[in-house]
Point group: C2
Amino acid sequence: MRIEIICTGDEVLTGKIVNTNFSYMSQKLEDAGLSVFWGTTVGDDRDSLLQAFRLAGERADAVIVNGGLGPTVDDLSQEVAAQAGGVDLVLDEEWLARMEAFFTRRSRVMPPNNRKQAMLPAGAEILDNPIGTACGFSMDIGKARFFFTPGVPRELRRMLEEQIIPRLLARSGAPTSIFLKRLHSYGLGESHVDTLLAGVEAMVPDGSVKLGFRAHYPQIETKLTARGTDMGDVRRKLAPVEAAVHERLGNFIVAEDDQTLEGVVLAALTGHQATLAVVETFTAGQIAARIAPLPGAEMIFRRGAVARDRAQLLAAVGRAGAAPDGEFTAEVAAAVAQAARSGADATHALAVLIDLDEGSDRIDLGGTIWVAIATTDDVVCRRARILGGREWIRLGAVELGLDCLRRYLQGLPVAERIDFEKV
Amino acid sequence: MRIEIICTGDEVLTGKIVNTNFSYMSQKLEDAGLSVFWGTTVGDDRDSLLQAFRLAGERADAVIVNGGLGPTVDDLSQEVAAQAGGVDLVLDEEWLARMEAFFTRRSRVMPPNNRKQAMLPAGAEILDNPIGTACGFSMDIGKARFFFTPGVPRELRRMLEEQIIPRLLARSGAPTSIFLKRLHSYGLGESHVDTLLAGVEAMVPDGSVKLGFRAHYPQIETKLTARGTDMGDVRRKLAPVEAAVHERLGNFIVAEDDQTLEGVVLAALTGHQATLAVVETFTAGQIAARIAPLPGAEMIFRRGAVARDRAQLLAAVGRAGAAPDGEFTAEVAAAVAQAARSGADATHALAVLIDLDEGSDRIDLGGTIWVAIATTDDVVCRRARILGGREWIRLGAVELGLDCLRRYLQGLPVAERIDFEKV
């Protein structure tokens, strides 16, 4: 099935907003085993919209149009859709009543211009929008089925997932049940993950489990899309592949599905009835900023300290004058973590100290990262070298520090070599 | 002039990467007084590319194609461009020599498949790429002038600004000199800024200064695009408008052009030969993360402390047991800032303490923010209420804290009311 996406609106066309709706839709469709072959972006302009609808109606089987369903005069989607489909615009009494109820629930009177949102091309099928006043709808233009969606991201997301993808899957004749399993790993590069997972798709010979990746440094997301006749069938097909991915990526899997690394760390701390202190140099609060604001972190995250200067760092954890100048060492990192732990009266402390190489920022600038984790009766250290410039080193060190803590709390080796470090 | 942008590549089409190149190009063109009327996205597919080039060649005057100039087999732009233009692909000896020199400078031998990057459509004009091996080029297809650009963002940016925009301006017959002045403000909403600046465009009657905005909460960027016959003419036209914007937005302007709020704060601290300590609760390190990693911050940013719990917060600044439980007050914020300053032996301290309202995260969840700035002989406080959910409050508090410090260092009123706070 040839799917086209048409994004509308002057804000998107002029670059005022980055078009994340496009990548979101495209990815969601890929996850469902569907794929987009053409994307069009036009402004709030009658001629361009008409032209875009007509071209898409000629070359695609299904078209998703995003935006232009609002109440203002520059929202033209329904009107131009009716023109392109050769039908009239008619008032949908049911949607009008829905909108009036929507405003009543919010103790407001519906402004007159919202009435426009209930004007739909004759014969269009409504696509429900339970969280907004923009009415989605579906109709034929040319040889394609068109799906009109609101520009507001959360309204679009719900409509795409609940209303449009099931209809597209039914049209494509694909099995109706689909499930996406996501595994987030840290420490392995994309090509390494790809190599490690070679052949897992073939474990299900009918091709109903598809493997995909999404790299967002420093994590890689491994996606398994499984299709089947029903969810039991899907789970049966997915199970051996998922187990194989777990086995092959092993300790490098940091989280699954909607979990985050910091969420997993917080859950592990909570499970251990632990509390945490964090000390940072060049990561400068970014580790604290990942954990401390999470719901439930109030009682777990006790204290974070940031200092760029070595003497200040030692003073911040109450060890002023404890060590001579020079580069960090395992001993200093351990002492800093231990002092931070006892100073905050926490069960655990994480220290991530960085010696940035001299010189201006450049693609091969390096940093030496010292991670130390201290508890009342234990301290472990790990050293890593990362090259790639200031921002790259900082991002890498934040992730490395959080991942070392995850490994420690999960009883895994803390110092397993990662692809991003230079030996 | 009707300009179309064609973005190519499976990664963009499938949503694997968000298409920031499109919004970047579109915005840059708008800044230069040019505008895009159509956007097309296609994958690394011969038929789609050919079709996209032909359609654009019929409807546009100028077309920018992004991506597909790399050395691998799925990079098809030159080949399909030649086909669409009805010309042969020929080896450009000059670019081949440039590439070989590029590799030689990096002590590497050019891989054979890079040779493909020097194969250009016959008669094409080269668009220089001083930082990569992908050769940009320009040629006619249909009735439009096409500009082919690399997908790597920094190579694209340089080529667009240095090579393509001047050619487009020359073709459009617009005056050749153009200048974009950007003023970043914090504390005023977009519609408020719009109202305050009503009429400034009309100060230059020939319409050669254009006003635009870009909102990225919590800052607003005000853009003045001035065109003229030469840079002297441009500056003469811009000067009165720029002065008016400065006068009307006044203390709310935090930075200009490529400056950032945190950079301005660091520069002011440096100018005062000052040093800084920071204390944060719910912003959890995000204020430190904005200042501390900046080049030059090593000697200025002395120490940051994060704690979510009130007792921990006081202990972290060496004031354990200093105040009873309860909500924060101006006195507590002042005491925390003073203690942090003296503890870190800094000249200045910034404390940003937040009482988050009870309850789960929701769009109307509020927080009370206490900002305190302490020096050796002074302390100022400011309280603000912000509604909008956890993330909104955190973002707002980070900006408010940094801006209060900027105002303090610049001798401006610290507690001027902002549009985002609830009175």
